[in-house]
């Protein structure tokens, strides 16, 4: 099989499987998988910046929350229907990402990490500060009537599953397409050797900014979809923890691979799900996995797969 055929078979196969599971899974796992697909879309967005461009952000919760609150506040206070509200979320994410990118990309390495962390922290505190509108930590619930998109009731579990699937499939296909386009290759080139890319004549700053905005917008799409599908908007999703999660998922699944974000999210979700049945200290798992990954498998699961089995894994 040619590399292209293998790529199509692998990623198409996953999507077909997820589609079929929408009809087969019992209610509990059905709901979980819907959540995982939305969160994996978030991780896919994160991976564009971290995995492909080589920029480690500690502040992506800002983009996720921008999408979620952009959508949620538009529904709650402007009375928008879900379609325009989702657009509002995407636009909010893109604008915030553009602003953060313009500033944070003036730094590199550790300083970039701290700057993104600080911006996200400021964003989280802003959500709390405007508690009169956002309801702070407590958050607010979107009623069933507010969650009908094009006549489809997204609070219905089946509809919700396939809406999550549609989001995930779109993000996956978009990234797969991107990494095979010159644009994606330039991002990888920047990750591999920024100076060399610049000396080939590429405007590195512009490409990095585009990557931040693309990554932020996909994260915002996931945030907006999460709020809409699960009917809840709250400050937790803007907290540091939600900046760490996508890093964890992508590291576990394999940074710079198309499938990695999904694999990482799936594993981590069930690890935390299982352990939260045993203890309230379920974030312990996240900590242990982070340490073990940095120590023993910095390439992640899909990265190991690429190293051992198929070099051409996109």
């Amino acid at each position: 099989m040619s590399d292209t055929a293998k790529t199509v078979a692998l990623h198409g196969g996953l999507l077909a499987l997820l589609f079929a599971l929408g009809f087969l899974l019992p209610a509990y796992h059905h709901g979980n998988l819907a959540r995982i697909m939305v969160l994996a879309s978030y991780a896919i967005g994160y991976n564009i910046l971290f995995g492909y461009t080589g920029l480690l952000s500690l502040g992506h919760a800002l983009f996720f929350a921008a999408g979620m609150y952009g959508m949620g506040l538009a529904v709650q206070y402007l009375g928008l229907s879900p379609g325009p509200a989702l657009t509002a979320g995407l636009v909010a994410g893109a604008i915030v990402a553009g602003a953060v990118g313009l500033l944070a990309l003036r730094t590199a390495g550790v300083a970039f990490m701290i700057v993104t962390l600080m911006f996200a922290q400021a964003g989280y505190l802003t959500v709390l500060y405007f508690g009169a509108f956002t309801r702070g930590d407590e958050g607010f619930v979107l009623q069933q009537a507010q969650r009908v998109l094009w006549g489809i009731d997204l609070s219905d579990p089946v509809h919700r599953y396939f809406a999550a699937f549609a989001l995930f499939a779109t993000c996956l296909a978009a990234v797969l397409w991107m990494v095979h386009r010159p644009f994606g290759k330039v991002l990888i080139a920047i990750r591999e050797n920024e100076d060399r890319a610049r000396m080939l004549g590429y405007d590195v700053f512009a490409y990095k900014l585009a990557a931040v905005i693309l990554s932020g917008t996909i994260s915002a799409a996931a945030g907006a979809a999460y709020g809409l599908l699960f009917g809840y908007v709250g400050a937790t999703f803007a907290s540091v923890q939600y900046s760490i999660f996508p890093l964890l998922w992508v590291l576990l699944g394999g940074a710079g691979t198309v499938l990695g974000p999904f694999i990482g999210t799936l594993f981590m979700f069930y690890l935390i799900d299982l352990s939260s049945g045993i203890t309230t200290a379920y974030m312990l798992i996240a900590g242990v996995v982070l340490v073990l990954l940095t120590l023993f498998a910095p390439q992640g699961l899909a990265g190991e797969l690429r190293k051992r089995i198929w070099r051409g894994l996109p």
């Binding site: 480690l56 701290i114 709390l128 500060y129 890093l247 203890t279 982070l290």
Partner: protein, 308 residues
């Protein structure tokens, strides 16, 4: 109460914050200065200091001062040893790579925090101060152009709070003496200047790193032991000191101990005074944005000079 006495009260409270913050931030700054890594778990070492202080004092019967003094002596050593262990088992193995160290210390953060939740539980618990006498403070107002001393209601501090400030000053002088005058301080500074050269001169760099990482954590723990009679011990209390230490260390110039102390005093005092005028949330928003912008527009000056 008038604004004058109110500001005096805010400054006194701010001075306590500044004292504790200076200790915590100097720990973080020391680690960054010598090892060139950012320890995101620093706040958890602070939290661990407070929780262990509660534990040690709860074991000791008799006068409150007895348990407290024991905690003051034992807890920083315990936390420092734990940090040194984390350094040797984790950070050393990833060769102190700056980015991977941040990811690893985020992991350590969650491990410490969650293990504390599992063992110590979700409650906030107080520690009794060893001494705690209320001191009312006078204020001067001008009545018909003549100064007039009076005792505004609510304007007071405690001997313990003054004790915290004094203790922090003493410890900081101690740290300075160690760094500037002692042999071990010389070794640390040599390692900071040029790691490879230090190795070539036979300095056991790995042991120095473990020592510095432990010392940094011990300072945070010490700060926590001092503050815990004022502020209760809770497993989530590490977030604020971490954030504030970041702010202080970045504003003060990374790795610079005098800069860190000055910035801690500045931030600690202004934190108290600003919160008189603004909500604490708004003050924190402004502070985090300030730090981000300092890093963006003065990265070379404040994020330390890279070794050639």
């Amino acid at each position: 109460m008038d604004i004058g006495p109110y500001l005096l009260l805010a400054s006194l409270e701010g001075a306590v914050t500044a004292a504790v913050l200076a200790l915590t931030a100097v720990g973080l700054s020391l680690v960054f200065g010598v090892m060139r890594v950012v320890n995101v778990a620093h706040g958890e070492f602070f939290m661990l200091g407070a929780v262990l202080a509660w534990w040690v004092t709860s074991l000791v019967a008799g006068h409150a001062a007895l348990g407290f003094v024991l905690a003051l002596l034992v807890v920083p050593v315990m936390v420092g040893a734990l940090a040194a262990l984390a350094d040797m088992t984790i950070l050393k193995r990833i060769a102190y790579d700056p980015e991977r160290t941040i990811v690893a210390t985020i992991g350590i953060l969650y491990i410490i925090q969650q293990v504390t939740l599992m063992t110590y539980g979700p409650d906030a618990r107080p520690v009794e101060p060893p001494f705690n006498t209320r001191l009312a403070l006078p204020w001067i107002e001008f009545v018909d152009g003549k100064p007039h001393i009076y005792w505004p209601w609510g304007l007071s501090t405690t001997t313990y709070k003054l004790g915290v400030i004094a203790a922090a000053v003493l410890v900081l002088i101690g740290v300075w003496l160690v760094m500037a005058k002692s042999r071990i301080g010389l070794i640390m500074r040599a390692t900071q200047l040029d790691r490879d050269m230090a190795l070539a001169f036979g300095i056991p760099v790995e042991r120095v790193y473990a020592l510095v990482f432990g010392l940094g954590a011990a300072l945070a723990a010490l700060a926590a032991v001092l503050i815990v009679p004022i502020q209760q011990a809770h497993y989530l209390m590490g977030g604020d000191p971490l954030l504030l230490s970041f702010i202080v260390v970045i504003i003060g110039g990374l790795g610079s101990l005098p800069g860190t102390v000055v910035a801690a005093i500045l931030i600690g005092l202004s934190d108290g005074i600003i919160s008189v005028f603004f909500s604490p949330t708004l003050a924190k928003i402004l502070a985090t944005l300030l730090v981000a912008l300092v890093l963006v527009f003065r990265p070379q000056g404040l994020f330390g000079v890279r070794r050639a």
